[in-house]
């Protein structure tokens, strides 16, 4: 029993990483209805920017805010420069550009900052919480993830621009007919996703260390979490991300043949199973519609 609780708690801690990434993935999916393969690399690049600021002696939280702001602007620029022109292009064009962005950010980071593994500081200090089950950083990461989620909820639920973004994503043609600048709403979605990715990167880097390939497997888990949660719901993304972390941990402990090497396939298998039963994911929106 005690082992079970331990495994769940530490699963939640890793799951918070995936939840953070899943949130960023859901943001872009809402705006352009595609999964952005370059999302992890964008987050990694943002984290390097933060690392550079810290190396220049900028205090942690100032570097944090600057990085989030720069990433927000960067996301908007990418949308305006590249994806705006692809709005009506076939899916494959998007995929190709995502892969290109992936490669560009990856090699650019390697070129500027080289491929050496770098430590990245945690703002939450070191030590142990809950009898050694969780580090302060893991606890801090969970709090930050929930904070981002709460901010998103308030933004989309209670602000006019949040409502405009939801309308533009759900029905672009009608959104234009009420005067919403749909293109800018999409750009804003990219900016927000990129900013959330930066937060995720800065939270993840102290755990996995900073290097250009740090996000590759995390992005897969993030996708899994986002899909499990239903792709349309930020709450679902967080729950999905946490669930993936827990499943991964439990499978590693309780299924004898599953060592650390098989954790990923098992987690993905469970997700496929869930999706077969509930194609819209755990919290995916079922639109009730009458015609």
């Amino acid at each position: 029993m005690e082992i079970l609780i331990q495994q769940i708690v530490s699963g939640v801690a890793t799951g918070a990483i995936y939840a953070c990434m899943a949130l960023a993935i859901v943001m872009i999916y809402q705006a352009i209805h595609h999964l952005n393969f370059a999302q992890g690399e964008m987050a990694m690049f943002s984290t390097f920017v933060a690392w550079q600021l810290l190396a220049w002696g900028v205090p942690y939280w100032l570097a944090f805010v600057l990085t989030v702001a720069l990433s927000f602007a960067g996301g908007i620029v990418i949308e305006r420069l590249v994806f705006r022109r692809l709005e009506n292009a076939p899916v494959l064009s998007h995929v190709v550009v995502f892969i290109a962005l992936f490669a560009i950010f990856n090699s650019l980071a390697g070129f500027i900052w080289n491929f050496e593994i770098k430590p990245f500081p945690s703002p939450f200090g070191s030590g142990a919480l809950f009898g050694g089950l969780m580090s302060p950083h893991q606890a801090g990461m969970i709090v930050v993830t929930l904070l981002v989620l709460a901010l998103l909820y308030v933004f989309f639920r209670f602000t006019r621009i949040g409502l405009a973004m939801r309308a533009a994503a759900a029905n672009p043609e009608s959104a234009r007919l009420v005067g919403i600048r749909v293109g800018w709403m999409t750009a804003l979605g990219w900016g927000m996703a990129s900013a959330i990715g930066a937060v995720a990167g800065m939270m993840i880097a102290p755990v996995v260390f900073l290097e250009p390939n740090m996000m590759v497997s995390i992005l897969l888990y993030g996708f899994a979490g986002a899909v499990l949660g239903g792709l349309t719901s930020p709450v679902g993304a967080v729950i999905g991300g946490l669930a993936v972390g827990i499943i991964e941990n439990l499978a590693g402990t309780y299924i004898p043949v599953v060592g650390p090497e098989l954790k990923l396939p098992v987690a993905l298998f469970v997700i496929v199973a869930v999706l077969v039963v509930r194609p819209s994911g755990l919290l995916g929106r079922k639109i009730v519609q009458r015609v």
Partner: protein, 237 residues
Amino acid sequence: MKPLLSVRGLEASYGDLKVLRGLDFTIAEGGVTALLGANGAGKTTTLRALCGMIPRSGEVEFDGRPISRARTEDIVRLGIAHVPEGRGTFFNLTVEENLELGAMSRPARREVADDVARIYGYFPRLKERRRQQAGTLSGGEQQMLAIGRALMLRPRLMLLDEPSFGLAPLVVEEVFRILAHVRETMKVSMLLVEQNANFALSLADHAYLLETGEIAVAGSAEEIRNDESIRNAYLGY
């Protein structure tokens, strides 16, 4: 008096199929103009071309401003509200959010609440269902919602694509009463596309009959209503 909207040589195509072949017409400020015609004549296409939802050519001036190259969002922001064919409901948002969206391009927040209350006055059914997902409304209720959403813009010109579509006869009367009231109190001009020529001509001052992308007949609503040969040839009653 200078017309509110003037259209010269409006053309639009879907692929190789030319659907509008050079329309010329005007809409007077404060007036209701009916656009009638058989299925497939190009009425919906005309409205979509006017507010830039499809590629078009020709000259369109709204209140002296050329809008034939403007984008939909910008045209709407000039005060042209479109009640589209198919109603354009935001299915997964609530009824009230749908209405608030209609005022999205207007700055003042407080007036928005007043306007929502006014729309609920016109359509009490919407008030009862204000927190409900708009996709769960019946077809007729969605039509009311679409009209309400357009009014939330406080438009100067409304483009109405078959507002009576899917409504029970009593509700159609009600909707036309509301449109007449809106026209009086809010000084809204209207371009009204209708299958229900009787209702349309009773509200309109002026009418155009569209036949395969060309204007076949133009005249005052009264002339057209009273001209038996036109009625027989184009309106089928």
